[in-house]
């Protein structure tokens, strides 16, 4: 009965999103206060309903209720509790339910915290959000119902795909989805702006916290996914240009561009049409990612289920939302007033440059991801576009962008002075040159690009620090007064610097981990020693071990450095019994920011085993940088100016008081 209760809650959420789609928009167009007032409460109720159904599905997983087909197909009673929980979204139906949950959650957030928005904009935005919710809940109910039942359930389920039984899975999809789906709100804002014909500087201000929120989570989600692939797939790689990864990178690039162009729109009321278009594109790319992953067009770890009807349904949704919003854009955009003009050397000029590079990079990834699919569909020819293509297209686009990053924030609005700006960056530039030379000295001249890459990373990091320091005029007023001004800086300034610094950190990690990595593949017998990067790895032997739902062969290694004990590492090869599926569990030792990465290969019999050992200098900086970027986003959201016009708490409490039924 509980299960059916959750099922009904989902159906009710669909009916409510239909109301949310129609009534507030009607109200906004007719300027009817009563109809607009429906938007916020209904969005909250819809969220509660979806939350209920999600809780019910989770409960079915926790109690191993195999009368729910979804649980039967994806769970197992002996699975550890945490994976029973995360297994809820470790499959197609459950993950789409999570997707919808986050979608309506954002709707509810706007309903709840959108008090500073004009009523008509809020109503129209929530109505557009309602269309998306209705579309995807219908998709769930019609093609991927998580509440499908089994009349006479067997006693044991099929277990969760073992590769997904990992704590990384617990965090990665929710983060990624918050990012992906978060951009639905900017999309809804953009479509609402087009419908209402209201695109002004204030609009950009209102959209900013939502863009920042989605962007921060998407950054974390991508980083988490990358780290998960790094230690779970056992290849030691952290980015594979896999179409699924690209599917999350594209909205990130577009979203980053949107973040920057919205600043211009907010400050100068320029780039309005472009910003609206970017908002539409960003969410469209999120939808495209969902389509690619969920339709089974791509076969990968993430293709939980490949079912043509689902693909067709998502494709139809995709055509409706992307086509519809672009048609609306084509119809309404010419009517929008163009903003002011500006000189190329100025803050807004730098931001336009940023947008050019980011969107070009996004286009490169788009082509590299979709061209093979297109070719396959049209000619049947199968090609694979891999790292070389992206290194040749994406890489060169990133380099000038990174060079330009420190200039942006130090240029002034309207008419900038490049010379004056460069003067503020002297120190940063000097430091970058110094680090480049230092790297050359350390590694010799046989690698040319890597030291330059290190220099570039240092340039971006030092530039971010220099920007904050010039803002408080540390050279003119001295450190003690500068400190108090530092604290007084608005959150958005801190956010910008932190995010840019994070970019530099990530770039540094990427450059060092790929250029200076050392690798050894060996077949070892007990007692053998593998030598790598000054570490001696002694193989002490392998032994079988039993986990709750797997058996594994664990190799035991003792790591020494110059004879001194450093760590013990136990990489293993697992076989998950229910699906008879093998996985590799790499063992990782972190020293400073660098990592020693150990992964077991085939057993050769008589105790010999293949082992791959990598030393990856500064590799953790890749993910640490992403975390810093996301923190920058969070600090920026905390900027009090983003809440201008929000109703005072007292007034809010009154209007939020429970209403007696009339």
């Amino acid at each position: 009965m509980i299960v059916e209760f959750g099922h009904y809650a989902l159906v009710l959420a669909f009916a409510l999103s239909l109301v949310q789609s129609v009534v507030p928009l009607w109200g906004a167009l007719a300027r009817d206060d009563r109809l607009m007032a429906v938007a916020a409460p209904v969005s909250v109720t819809t969220f509660i309903m979806v939350l209920l159904s999600f809780a019910v599905l989770t409960n079915a997983y926790l109690t191993a209720d195999f009368s729910v087909l979804n649980v039967l197909e994806n769970s197992h009673s002996a699975k550890p509790l945490v994976y029973k929980f995360t297994g809820v979204w470790g499959n197609h139906e459950g993950s789409m339910l999570l997707w919808v949950l986050i979608l309506v959650f954002f709707g509810a957030l706007v309903g709840f915290f959108g008090g500073n928005l004009p009523k008509d904009l809020r109503a129209a935005t929530l109505a557009v959000q309602g269309w998306i919710s209705a579309g995807f809940i219908l998709f769930l109910l019609a093609t991927s119902n998580p509440f499908a039942r089994v009349a006479n359930p067997p006693l044991e389920g099929a277990d969760l795909n073992p590769i997904l039984q990992d704590i990384g899975l617990a965090i990665h999809p929710p983060l990624l989805y918050v990012g992906y789906v978060g951009f639905s709100i900017t999309f809804s804002f953009a479509v609402a702006a087009l419908i209402l014909g209201r695109t002004d500087a204030a609009w950009a201000r209102w959209v900013r916290p939502w863009t920042l929120l989605a962007w921060s989570f998407l950054t974390l989600g991508i980083a988490m996914g990358s780290y998960w692939a790094y230690y779970e797939l056992g290849w030691g790689g952290w980015w594979f240009w896999d179409p699924v990864e690209n599917a999350s990178l594209m909205p990130w690039l577009a979203g980053t561009a949107l973040l920057h162009s919205a600043i211009v729109m907010e400050r100068r009321e320029a780039l309005k049409i472009w910003t609206i278009l970017l908002a539409i594109f960003t969410f469209s790319l999120s939808l495209l990612g969902t389509f690619l992953v969920r339709s089974g067009v791509l076969t990968s770890v993430h293709a939980f289920a490949t079912d043509p009807t689902r693909g067709v349904f998502i494709l139809a949704l995709l055509c409706f939302f992307i086509g519809g919003s672009l048609a609306l854009y084509a119809w309404r955009a010419p009517a929008l007033k163009q903003g002011g003009l500006f000189a190329p050397i100025s803050r807004e000029g730098a931001l336009v440059l940023n947008n050019l590079f980011l969107t070009s990079a996004c286009a490169a990834v788009f082509v590299g991801t979709l061209y093979p699919l297109f070719l396959d569909a049209v000619t049947g020819e199968k090609i694979s576009v891999g790292a070389p293509f992206f290194n040749l297209t994406f890489g060169p686009l990133m380099v000038p962008l990174l060079i330009a990053v420190p200039f942006g924030p130090v240029l002034s609005w309207k008419r900038g002075d490049l010379l004056a700006a460069s003067q503020r960056l002297y120190a940063a530039f000097g430091l970058a040159i110094l680090m480049t030379v230092f790297t050359f000295w350390l590694w010799g001249m046989d690698m040319v690009l890597a030291p330059l890459g290190v220099g570039l990373a240092v340039w971006v990091m030092a530039g971010a620090v220099a920007e904050i320091l010039t803002r408080v005029k540390i050279l003119e007023i001295g450190p003690s007064r500068a400190f108090s001004r530092l604290i007084g800086l608005p959150g958005s300034a801190w956010g910008t610097s932190m995010a840019h610094f994070g970019v530099g950190v990530t770039v540094l990690g990427i450059v060092t981990a790929s250029a200076f990595q050392e690798e050894r593949i060996a077949t070892v017998r007990p007692g053998d020693v593998v030598e790598l990067s000054g570490y001696q790895l002694t193989f002490d032997g392998a032994a079988p071990r039993r986990g709750p739902n797997f058996t594994e062969e664990v190799g035991h290694f003792t790591i020494r450095q110059g004879g001194i004990f450093v760590a013990e590492l136990d990489p293993s090869k697992r076989v998950y019994t229910a699906r008879q599926m093998p996985t590799t569990e790499a063992a990782i030792h972190t020293t400073g920011f660098s990592q020693l990465y150990l992964s077991l290969g085939e057993s050769r019999g008589d105790g010999a085993v293949d082992v791959r050992v990598y030393f990856k200098p500064l590799i953790t900086l890749i993910w640490i940088g992403c975390v810093i970027m996301a923190l920058g986003g969070a600090v920026s959201i905390a900027d009090r100016r983003l809440r201008v016009g929000a109703p005072k708490p007292a007034r809010k409490r009154k209007s939020a008081a429970p209403a007696p039924a009339e």
């Binding site: 509980i2 809650a9 009710l12 009916a15 206060d33 409460p41």
Partner: protein
């Protein structure tokens, strides 16, 4: 019933979340967009002042920015003058109220009845396992014991309980493993060793594997009077082609019987088989055992457990098949063979038997047609 009441409550709450805010909304004085944008522009103005004070912006740039923002502020203000919030006229409000009161529940309940399964109860595993034993299927009982054994693998008595159950539900391999656990934990016993061997034989399609043979030997050594291990050992000897030893073993077994045992028919059959093939006692075996299963054999087989019965039928059928292939037989014997295969579910063997029979009676059209009749009744195609 409680379910439908809860559903009604949920639906009502959903409808109220539409109706209540509509009735509570008041006409706003400052138009639908309020003065939210004006607030943003005022804040931008004060931000310019702050930047100017910090020296982050040149005075003339600040002046230009101020003008720009002031223009936006004025624009926004003008727009607000023109707009004014309205409150629903009756028809629009009535329409939306109708939507919330009728369309919303209709859509929700209608779709739910289409997609949902209100009559399927929840079935959390723990509750299913705890239900009273008489309501549970064998599968659930087995799962319960398995769960118990997974947690207490050292409980020998548990393995003793589940082993014969495994065999009766056709999981011979698991049964053998369970007996092995019981023997490991509680020490060897003649009947467990024998049953373990039997399970191995069944899992091995009737052939006696080496481990099973060892188990039977150990059992026979523990209790020389036990018949069952010796029965299987005799089968094993026959399968290994040690005919004289096998015949010896069967004769000993039969000699020790008092004539009422259920296995006696099968034993005689085996003996006749071996003796016949050996050519030792040519037709004398006929006096020992009738051809094909006699009434007596059938009666005996009904006393046996399903597994024993299956094994016995199998040995009889294979005996009959060999004899017919070597020496030929009557039309009714061929019919028996086909029927036996059909009963055992081995359709391909039945078809093969039909083909052989047709070949054997190719020159006797009358017999051939009765073979075909029999085949048709059994549903064989004869292709």
């Amino acid at each position: 019933m409680v379910f439908w009441i809860l559903i009604a409550v949920m639906t009502a709450a959903a409808a109220l979340s539409v109706l209540v805010p509509m009735s509570r909304a008041r006409r706003s004085q400052d138009g639908p967009s309020g003065n939210a944008d004006e607030a943003v522009y005022r804040d931008q103005l004060s931000a310019i002042e702050a930047e100017l004070k910090r020296g982050l912006i040149e005075p003339e740039a600040a002046g230009a920015a101020r003008t720009e923002i002031a223009r936006r502020l004025l624009n926004a203000h003008d727009n607000h003058e023109r707009e004014a919030g309205r409150i629903s006229q009756a028809p629009r409000l009535k329409f939306v109220q109708g939507l919330a009161l009728f369309a919303l529940p209709a859509v929700a309940v209608g779709l739910y009845l289409f997609f949902g399964a209100p009559d399927v109860p929840d079935a959390p595993l723990a509750a299913r396992l705890q239900a009273p034993a008489e309501e549970q299927s064998v599968d659930i009982l087995v799962a319960r014991v398995e769960r118990h054994l997974a947690e207490n693998p050292e409980d020998g008595q548990g393995w003793v309980v589940i082993a014969p159950v495994y065999l009766s539900i056709g999981r011979a391999q698991d049964s053998a493993r369970a007996y092995a656990q019981a023997i490991r934990l509680l020490g060897p016993r003649q009947d467990w060793l024998t049953d373990m061997g039997e399970a191995m034989v069944i899992a091995n399609q009737g052939l006696v594997p080496a481990e099973a043979r060892q188990a039977f030997e150990q059992a026979a050594a523990m209790d020389a009077s036990a018949v069952k291990p010796r029965f299987f050992l005799a089968i094993a000897l026959g399968q290994e082609g040690r005919k004289s030893e096998a015949i010896e073993a069967w004769r000993n077994l039969i000699a020790g019987a008092d004539g009422t045992e259920a296995w006696l028919g099968a034993a005689r059959n085996e003996l006749a088989e071996l003796a016949g093939a050996d050519g030792q006692s040519d037709r004398t075996s006929q006096t020992l055992a009738p051809r094909g299963p006699s009434q007596e054999d059938v009666a005996a087989s009904q006393d046996m457990s399903p597994v024993d019965r299956q094994a016995m039928i199998r040995s009889m059928v294979s005996g009959l098949a060999e004899r017919l292939a070597d020496e030929g037989g009557s039309v009714s014997e061929w019919g028996q063979l086909m029927q036996a295969y059909v009963v055992l579910g081995e359709m391909q063997s039945a078809e093969n038997a039909l083909e052989d029979a047709q070949a054997a009676f190719a020159d006797k059209p009358e017999d051939l047609s009765s073979i075909k009749d029999a085949a048709r009744q059994l549903g064989l195609t004869g292709s």
